[in-house]
Amino acid sequence: MKINLITGFLALLMLFSNKSKAQSFPSGKDIAQKTHEKNEGVSMSRKLTMELKDKRGKIRLRETISLRKYFGKEKRLAIFYQTPKSVQGTAFLTYDYPDVSVDDDQWLYMPALRKTRRISAANRGDYFLGTDLTYEDIKLETRISREDYNYKTVRKEMIDGQECYVLEGTPVSKEIAKELGYGKVKFWVDAKIWMLRKADSWDIAGNHLKTIEIKDIKKVQNIWTYHKIFAKNHKTNHETTFLISEIDYQTTISDDTFTKEAMVNGL
């Protein structure tokens, strides 16, 4: 009887271990790498509407034209404000260098001052133009960092009807945690097209900080493209919605568009 019990138990154990083998997931590192291999085209123009909502439900609506172009591995991004009228003509330009040790360059052109002003190299965890997204979020878009976190792939979940890997990440060091402003993150990465669909983050003290959802992912000119980002800060109850339309990867954008001079002239 005793022996029977033990063999039964062993059989059960083997069954389970087999099962977990069948369920083994790609490592976080591999998933992160895959998100970086996705085709993003060389240049892109789009209409970006930022809807910012404070905790009392008051809304600031800003319509912009956003242009992006890769110069080799260097990414340049220009945002031209169209509304509200008071900031019409204001332009934001950033050079995002592949070398992490080099600070990115950023400028803002203010038509009312008729001057372009450099913005100090922001912390990666600083908020981007009054939104709930950080400079780091804007830089990575649908990718996830390869260096900043130790990942653990925990399970698969469905997001918007698509299968996603769920990754839990903790910053590799205290310094990185402080720089990013996160003590813990959780990512949902699409298992087929390797795009980030959802991200949750916690602050260093462990409070739930933010949820970001990347929505309406559709193919545009054969490139998987998101059309909406929703971000909510759980601590301040501030919300940001990015609505993206008129996406075009094919128009050629002149290199000169990404210069301080071009900012002054506008589009």
């Binding site: 009392r56 900031v87 913005i119 100090s120 009054g130 003290a205």
Partner: protein, 775 residues
């Protein structure tokens, strides 16, 4: 009269026949209601002084809500050698970070040199950065922080004192912790204790801290005053009757009165306010008086009629005593209700209401419980009342008073006229004033912290000015910004206004920073769009919520926050008045409107009502007492006689307040109505008894007076001692308004007693009113 007495006797026959049920019911009601007491919540905030739906209060709450303003705990870090060194800045960082972990503190709402950002212009841009980072903090870096602050006018006086020896750390509480401020206060005090050995001295004050500490403070005070009052009263009872039942029975009445009043308060969800702390002591003193009169009569009867059975004694006592006891209780209730009706402030309204309930409970227990309890016992005599009618020394003392009155009635009348004259003069010079910090004794650490912060920095009293424009982004309009600037400039010329902050200050700083830090550009930007673009630029490196306290999300509403170095009404009121006048004449237009609000405005508004409410309450109490005693004596002249001693006692107090420089404030303003309600009892007993002796019994004046002083006079003396000593117990309270209240009522009651014992009989002697003539 005879008929009435018969009715009363029948009534008490019924009561004594059901004494077991009555005793049982008495205990059930008393404990049942008192069981609610542990549910009592405390509210020591200054908001408590206005009804929740008051327009001034709701507007201030709307302003707080719009701009996320709270009453912070303020920690002052003081280093007499200057704060700009590595060690002190290190301490500021440590405290700021540790505060974030204190339960109840909102970790995102800590404001200090460590958390705030500096706005610096660079040769081609704008930088928004923390004043310092921990990694590169050195004494040299600390000096850079010093010059940054010297360059940032906004933070001078508000974050760092102008003499640079003090810097503040402000901590806001989470909304969910609203009523547990005292716990947060305690945790922060414990945190600060850890740094006791440091050279830097740490102080904790601010509105949040004051409210938090007050809760603990009044608790400790109640633990001290209430038992003390009970002991004092018991000693008086021992002296009066030298019998166990003479001490125990009145004490049970006291328990019933206090238990029912406080239990009902808790049961109805009424908060316990600072002045509520005085209520138990007040009720103890009042409730015991009924017991004294009943037992006095009982022992006198027992001495006179040794053959009476216990039931006969009880019936005799109660049918003689129910009338004066009911009259005096009703007048006392009238005094409390006058406070309740005349006051606009919930703490006083409830003090009056539940005080009245407590007195009513004492009356009901005197009528039902005392005779029932006596039925359980055997007849007993007191050594204080001997069969041979020999008068004890207290009776003798009163006889002396009687002899004096009969001999010098005119002298007494003259004295009264002098007191009236002085009192009217005093009343016209009353100073209406209030300061919440005065709820603590002057040697309390929080009082010292408050004084230090007010001395070194711009202060801890806030006056907010709510700015409204018609359309979104209208705040950007340079004309509007200039108006706000002019208003700030004007406000800062007013006494006690030490500083002001608005979005204008930040815009000026940004303008300067974007123009190569040239101080000539510390001005309002000239163009509406430029302002909008500055905010956008700021958002490229600052936090999206950085300006929440000063401008709303639509840029349609703004807040100007003034800081005053005083919380005293008499200084706050003129500031609010001046600013309101300025707003009306120089500010408001179709394109911009301003409204004063904030703690200072709310103070100025409600304390302003104190004076009016005080005189209204006193007048109302007098009127009710007059009507009631006129009706019960069926004579207006008798009614007028009864209110003479209390009127004089109140006038006397005005003189005392003038001499001792006591403010007419929240606590003290209630004295008059309550002193009238209580003090009139002596006059009621005096008139009642003298009428009985002179008119009903038809005794000659000399004889009647002698009889009056040695019997009723003696009982009134103990009644007076119980009241005066009971209220004096409040004087040991650590809460100055309560101790002043206790002092004033004790003095007023003394004057009423002396007046009733001297002036009243003197008037009757001199004028010989018809009311007292033999039938």
């Amino acid at each position: 009269m005879k008929n009435e007495n018969q009715k009363a006797t029948n009534f008490f026959k019924y009561v004594t026949s059901k004494y077991k049920i009555i005793l049982l019911l008495s205990i059930i009601v008393m404990t049942g209601v008192a069981l609610f007491i542990p549910k009592m919540t405390k509210d020591t905030s200054y908001d408590a002084f206005l009804p929740k739906d008051d327009p001034v209060l709701t507007f201030r709450n709307k302003t707080k809500e719009t701009f996320g303003l709270k009453d912070p705990m303020v920690i002052a870090v003081v280093n007499e050698e200057g704060i700009f060194n590595k060690k002190t800045l290190d301490l500021v960082q440590k405290l700021s970070e540790q505060l974030k972990t204190v339960p109840g503190v909102d970790p995102d709402q800590i404001t200090s040199l460590w958390t705030e950002n500096n706005i610096v212009g660079t040769y081609d841009g704008l930088q928004v950065d923390p004043f310092y980072e921990l990694d590169d903090l050195s004494d040299d870096k600390a000096l850079k922080v010093k010059s940054a602050i010297e360059d940032f006018e906004l933070y001078q006086g508000s974050l760092v004192s102008k003499d640079q020896t003090t810097t503040l750390i402000l901590a806001e509480m989470l909304d969910s912790y609203g009523k547990r401020q005292h716990e947060v206060y305690k945790s922060i005090m414990t945190l600060l204790e850890q740094y006791k050995s440091y050279d830097e001295k740490l102080y904790l004050a601010g509105e949040g801290a004051v409210s938090g500490y007050l809760i603990k403070y009044i608790d400790e005070d109640a633990m001290k005053t209430n038992p003390f009052a009970a002991i004092v009263i018991s000693i008086i009872l021992i002296f009066a009757y030298r019998r166990v039942r003479g001490v125990v029975l009145p004490n049970i009445m006291v328990l019933a009165s206090v238990g029912i009043a406080l239990g009902a308060m808790a049961g109805f969800g009424v908060d316990f306010f600072v002045i509520t702390n005085g209520l138990p002591v007040v009720l103890i003193s009042i409730a015991v008086a009924d017991g004294i009169h009943i037992l006095g009569e009982y022992y006198e009867a027992a001495a006179k009629h040794p053959n009476f059975s216990q039931r006969e004694l009880v019936l005799y006592t109660m049918s003689n005593m129910w009338r004066p006891i009911t009259i005096t209780s009703v007048t006392t209730i009238a005094g409390f209700l006058a406070v309740s009706v005349s006051s606009y402030m919930p703490p006083m309204t409830y003090f009056g209401l539940f005080g009245a309930l407590g007195v009513f409970a004492a009356l009901v227990y005197a009528i039902f419980f005392i005779p029932s309890a006596l039925m359980l016992l055997k007849p007993q005599t007191s050594r204080a009342y001997k069969v041979d009618q020999k008068v004890d020394r207290f009776g003798k003392l009163m006889e002396l008073v009687g002899k004096f009155v009969v001999k010098y009635p005119k002298f007494i009348l003259a004295m009264a006229v002098v007191i009236i004259g002085l009192g009217i003069n005093g009343a016209s010079h009353l100073e209406i004033n209030e300061d919440r910090i005065k709820n603590f004794q002057s040697d309390e650490p929080i009082v010292k912290a408050d004084a230090l912060i007010n001395l070194k920095t711009d202060g801890t009293s806030y006056l907010d000015i709510f700015i409204e424009t018609p359309e979104n982004e209208d705040i950007f309009e340079p004309e509007n910004l200039k108006k706000m600037q002019a208003l700030q400039t004007y406000a800062e010329t007013l006494p006690h206004v030490k500083g002001s902050v608005s979005i204008v200050d930040f815009l000026k700083k940004m303008n300067q920073s974007l123009n190569e830090n040239n101080t000539d550009y510390y001005i309002i930007p000239s163009d509406r769009d430029l302002v909008a673009q500055y905010f956008l630029l700021y958002s490229a490196s600052g936090d999206p919520t950085d300006f929440d306290n000063y401008v709303d999300y639509d840029y349609r509403l703004a807040n100007i926050r003034l800081r005053l170095d005083t919380g005293e009404y008499k200084y706050e009121k003129p500031v609010v008045d001046s600013i309101n006048k300025y707003i009306e004449h120089h500010f408001n237009s179709d394109s911009i409107q301003a409204t004063t609000t904030g703690k200072v405005t709310v103070d100025a508004y409600w304390i302003n009502r104190l004076g009016f409410n005080h005189f209204l309450g006193a007048g109302l109490a007098l009127l009710v007492v007059l009507i009631f005693s006129s009706l019960s004596f069926r004579s207006i002249s008798a009614g007028l006689l009864t209110i003479i001693p209390v009127s004089i006692s109140v006038l006397f107090i005005y003189t005392v307040m003038g001499i001792l420089d006591i403010w007419l404030a929240v606590g003290t303003s209630m004295f008059a109505a309550i002193a009238i309600g209580i003090g009139v009892d002596f006059a009621v007993h005096t008139v009642d008894r003298l009428k009985f002796l002179l008119s009903d019994q038809g005794l000659p004046i000399q004889e009647a007076y002698l009889e009056f002083y040695k019997s009723a006079g003696r009982a009134l003396l103990f009644n007076f001692l119980a009241l005066a000593l009971g209220f004096s117990v409040l004087m040991v309270s650590s809460v100055p308004p309560l101790s002043q209240f206790g002092f004033l009522v004790a003095v007023a009651v003394s004057v009423s007693f002396i007046g009733s014992m001297t002036l009243l009989p003197a008037i009757i002697l001199v004028t010989k009113p018809k009311f007292f003539s033999p039938e």
